[in-house]
Amino acid sequence: MGLTQNTYFCVSLFYAVTALTTTELDELFKATQQGDEKAFRAFYEQTKARVFNTALSYVRNPEDAEEITQDVFVEAFQSISEFRAEAGVVTWLYRITVNKSLDLLRHKKRQKRFAFLTSLFDAETGEVIHEPADFVHPGVALEQQENAAILFRAIDKLADKQKTAYILTRVEGLSNIEAAEVMTISVGAVESLLQRANENLKKQLAGWYKLARP
């Protein structure tokens, strides 16, 4: 981890403009496994948006998503020698991200459940601690942001598996086959989860229609 600022800049610049294929990513990961720190940096540059965007879709809060992104890369680096190549390296990274995001959501749910025992408001800022404000996804066009915020709120109400299938395919843009690999289930199961997720989202949105369009 002893790269100079100049090297960082060069490496970031190169990998920011060059999107690598899965095979090239696997090569980078292999180099990281052999202790190449530059390769780790390059691997991070190539995959950070996938990890961050997935985490953000779950937790709807950039600070928490960055915390998860950090945890994912730290865990990936620390367990790099244990990685077995049965699944692709990106699939492995998505798996860690999904697990960490769901863990954080469960932790927040527990906190919320016991909120009556603690203060509901932050002592310094006076903001509500347990209820996130309406989330604005930075990658969504301005005219779609209001609708996207409603959709993310509805996604949050889905069951964990439906949520994961929906986020991986609809938000992250993975194919059903790739999502199935990440979730270690069959493609048919992903399709069924997506169908149920769509139905539930429609039901949820139908219930919110009058509130959104008074």
């Binding site: 981890m1 730290v74 996207a148 992250e172």
Partner: protein, 105 residues
Amino acid sequence: MEPEKEQWIREVMGSLDDAQRAEPNPFLFTRIEQRLKLARPAAYVSTRMVWLAAASFALLILLNGQLIRQKLASPTENSLNTVVSDMQLYPTGNQLYSGWSGPNY
């Protein structure tokens, strides 16, 4: 379902269609590096060592058990006296006031 409502639901569900991936803070990697530097290497104990420790504990418990069993099964003073008197194993020392109170005194 009303057509307006249906249209709105379609719009909401399609709101992420052209969304770009969000990027994290550009300084996030520095924080990751910092954490990796601070993180102490996890203490690794091999499976062999774990089994060795478990076997040692088992042996220790077994030996202790054996010792306790032997202690419990060892002859009491009464049974010792019976054996001594049956076999006439009285001491032959010259001490007048020994702990023995056998028929020789």
